[in-house]
Assembly symmetry: C2
Homo-oligomer: 151 residues x 2
């Protein structure tokens, strides 16, 4: 079986191109968002994502496990990221009240300010690099397709 | 302007969710492909992509600039990656004939073998994690939407 696996075709070249188009479209948007946020605000995209998720949360704070799920980082990856953001004053660490374990990450004043500065840049990028290529019906359909992939 | 930028809304929360769904769907597929290729073949996904692109090219070789465009890496990032693949015997370096500058990356025998082993795993992943969630018409439509983003 293994020796012939390279010649078996579970996926046609045309089907493979759908995945490659997915990958390329994603890279295309991410790189431009990254470049804009770096150039105008010196803010890495994952930092923006953390700040945005915290600002949307009740009390502007989240358990680390919730935040990791939202920004799609591993617990260890998020801990490293949040540690850097704490050292730059963008995020505060708040001990969880009930159980002694774990803590909340909370939006700090400086994080709120940096997010406010960068938010319009991010929105403009999402609009220009993705949304404006579709009408409302197409966007609804695209969103449905995308959710099918991970739900 | 800047002071109020955080409160202006160029993009509605629902529209932002389309981008977030895009990002989540992409991560979802990539992580599973990475995990499968690592577990079964100890092959990082970017290595697989390089081997696949070389195997599809005429003469199973590509100029580094062409390869960088196909696998969406910076020239320096691709050079580092290909150097590692050369040192493991998966890729060969061939000087470009006409001009003295630059060189081709070519599929080596060991690279062909590793690609053959991993190809079915990759195809199965692309099928299971992405393609099989759509019928043929939907896939065609999705591919068209994705191309609009980067074309």
């Amino acid at each position: 079986m293994d020796a012939t696996s390279g010649s078996e075709e579970l996926v046609s070249p045309e089907q493979l191109e759908v995945w490659r188009a997915f990958d390329r479209a994603h890279v295309h948007v991410v790189r431009q968002l990254e470049a804009d946020l770096h150039e105008l605000h010196r803010l890495p995209l994952p930092w923006f994502d953390v700040l945005a998720r915290l600002s949307e949360a009740e009390g502007q704070r989240l358990r680390m496990s919730q935040l990791a799920d939202l920004v799609m980082l591993s617990p260890s990856g998020l801990t490293r990221l949040v540690d850097r953001m704490i050292s730059e004053g963008l995020v505060r660490r708040i001990p969880a009240e009930r159980d002694g374990r774990g803590f909340y990450a909370a939006l700090a004043e400086e994080g709120k300010r940096r997010l406010g500065d960068a938010s319009e840049t991010h929105q403009r990028g999402v609009r220009d690099y993705l949304l404006e290529r579709f009408n409302d019906d197409e966007l609804t359909q695209l969103a449905g397709y995308l959710r099918r992939v991970y739900e």
